[in-house]
C-alpha cells in the first residue's frame, strides 16, 4: 500500500479468491516527494548533540485506509452486478421492519442478502433470516459504526449472489456511520415521523452523505404534529439533491415506489456488470488475434 496517500488494496484483495484479471494499478504515480535527509532537520544540518527534529509533509487523509478498502468493496460488488445499499438511521426508525417487508415483497424475484450491524445480539439477522433471505450479523462490540473492513469480512462469509441486491443495515446511529464509506452504491437515511422533523438539521452530516431519505411510519401522521414539508425542506438545506420517499413499512403505503427504486438500482448495477464483461470479452477476442 502507498503509505502517503493510503491508496492500494493489497491487504484485502488477496484474502479472497477471485477469477478476474483487472490490472491492480491505479491512476496516479507515486512521487510524493517525501525523501527524508538528515540535513533537513530544523537546524538545517546534522550537528552532533543537537536535536534531529525534522518536519515531514505527509498530506494523508485520515479516512484514506477505510476509503481504499471501500473502493475494493465497490469493485468487488461491481464485478458481480450486486446493488448494495447502506441503510443508516437512529435506533428505532424501523430499518429492520422496512427490510423484512422488502425481502418479503421481493422474495422469488431475485436473490437478496442482508448484512446487519449492531453492537450486540443477532436479533435483527434472526428476523431477516425468518423471512427467508440469507443474513449475517456483524456485532461491533463497543464500535458505533460499520467500516469497510467489517463489511468485506461479511462479503466472504455471506457470499451474496451475482446480480442480487445487498442491504447493509448500519448500526443505529445518526452520527458516526456518516464518515465511513462501505463501498455501497448509496446511503439511504431512514427517518421515522415519530422523530423530530428537524433531525436533518440536527444531524446534517448524515443527511448530506445520504442520497435518499425514507420517511418511515407515515401511517402515524394523523396522530402526530410532524410537518412533512418542513422536514423535507430541512433535508434539502443540507443536501439539495436528496431524494425523498414517504413510506409505511407496516401499512405498505409508499412501498411500491421504494421497491421500484431498488429494482432500478439493481438493473443499473447489472447493466454496469454487462459493460465490464463485454469489455473483458472484447479484450479476450483481441488477444486471440
Amino acid at each position: 500500500m502507498c503509505t502517503v496517500c493510503g491508496c492500494g488494496n493489497a491487504q484485502v484483495e488477496h484474502t479472497h479468491d477471485h477469477d478476474h484479471d483487472h490490472p491492480h494499478d491505479h491512476g496516479h504515480d507515486h512521487h510524493h516527494g517525501e525523501d527524508v535527509h538528515f540535513g533537513k532537520g530544523i537546524a538545517g544540518i546534522h550537528v552532533p548533540g543537537l536535536s534531529q527534529s525534522r518536519i515531514i509533509q505527509i498530506e494523508q487523509d485520515i479516512l484514506g485506509h477505510n476509503k481504499s478498502l471501500a473502493d475494493v468493496n465497490r469493485a468487488w460488488l461491481a464485478e458481480r452486478g450486486i446493488f448494495a445499499l447502506n441503510l443508516v438511521s437512529s435506533p428505532g426508525s424501523g430499518k429492520t421492519t422496512l427490510l423484512c417487508k422488502t425481502v418479503e415483497a421481493l422474495a422469488g424475484r431475485y436473490p437478496l442478502a442482508v448484512i446487519e450491524g449492531d453492537q450486540q445480539t443477532s436479533n435483527d439477522a434472526d428476523r431477516i433470516r425468518a423471512t427467508g433471505a440469507p443474513a449475517i450479523q456483524i456485532n461491533t462490540g463497543k464500535g458505533c459504526h460499520l467500516d469497510a473492513h467489517m463489511v468485506a469480512t461479511a462479503f466472504e462469509r455471506l457470499k451474496p449472489a451475482e446480480d442480487s441486491v445487498l442491504f447493509i443495515e448500519n448500526v443505529g446511529n445518526l452520527v458516526c456511520p456518516a464518515a465511513f464509506d462501505l463501498g455501497e452504491a448509496y446511503k439511504v437515511a431512514i427517518l421515522s415521523v415519530t422523530e423530530g422533523e428537524d433531525k436533518p438539521l440536527k444531524y446534517p452530516d448524515m443527511f448530506a452523505a445520504a442520497s435518499m431519505m425514507v420517511l418511515n411510519k407515515v401511517d402515524l401522521l394523523p396522530y402526530l404534529d410532524f410537518d412533512v414539508a418542513r422536514c423535507i425542506e430541512f433535508a434539502r438545506r443540507v443536501n439539495p439533491d436528496i431524494v425523498v420517499l414517504q413510506v409505511s413499512a407496516r401499512s405498505g403505503q409508499g412501498m411500491d415506489e421504494w421497491l421500484a427504486w431498488v429494482n432500478e438500482g439493481r438493473r443499473r448495477a447489472i447493466a454496469e456488470r454487462i459493460k465490464l464483461l463485454e469489455a473483458k470479452l472484447a479484450t479476450a477476442k483481441a488477444n486471440l488475434g
Binding site: T3, G6, E34, V36, I42, S51, Q52, S53, R54, I55, I56, Q57, I58, E59, Q60, D61, I62, L63, G64, H65, N66, G143, C144, H145, D147, V175, C176, A178, A179, F180, P200, L201, P204, D205, A208, F234, R236, R237, V238, P240
Partner: protein
C-alpha cells in the same frame, strides 16, 4: 464516538510513516480538520491522548489541530461563499443551493519527528 476509530487511524499512519522514513518518535502531528468534516476536534484530542500512549512512536506526540474553514459554491449567486456549518444558508442570498467545496476533509498535514 467515531473519533476513537479515526484516532486509531492517525496512530496507524504514524507507525507506517515511522517504518517508511526510519524515525523513532513523533514530536508533533499537525491535523487539518475541515469545519464541515464529521469530526469533533475536542474528542479527537481526548482520544489521541488515550490511544497514543499505547504506541512507541506516538506516545510523546503532541496533536495540533488546524481548522480549515468550510466553503461552498452557491448555485444561485454563482459564487464561492464561506459556510461554517451544514444547514446554514448562503451568507449572500440566504438560499440553500449550496455545494460544499472546502472544509469537508480531515487529514494529517505534516509531522515533526526525530
Amino acid at each position: 464516538m467515531h473519533e476513537m476509530s479515526l484516532t486509531e487511524g492517525v496512530v496507524r499512519i504514524l507507525e507506517e510513516q515511522a517504518a517508511t522514513h526510519g524515525f523513532a518518535k513523533v514530536k508533533t502531528v499537525w491535523l487539518e480538520i475541515g469545519e464541515l468534516s464529521q469530526v469533533d476536534p475536542e474528542s479527537m484530542l481526548f482520544c489521541f491522548d488515550a490511544i497514543a500512549r499505547g504506541s512507541n512512536v506516538a506516545a510523546e506526540a503532541k496533536l495540533e489541530i488546524v481548522t480549515i474553514p468550510g466553503q461552498a459554491y452557491c448555485l444561485d449567486c454563482a459564487d464561492t461563499v464561506p459556510l461554517s456549518k451544514r444547514g446554514d444558508g448562503c451568507p449572500k442570498c440566504g438560499g440553500w443551493a449550496l455545494q460544499v467545496t472546502g472544509g469537508g476533509d480531515m487529514r494529517i498535514k505534516e509531522l515533526e519527528v526525530e
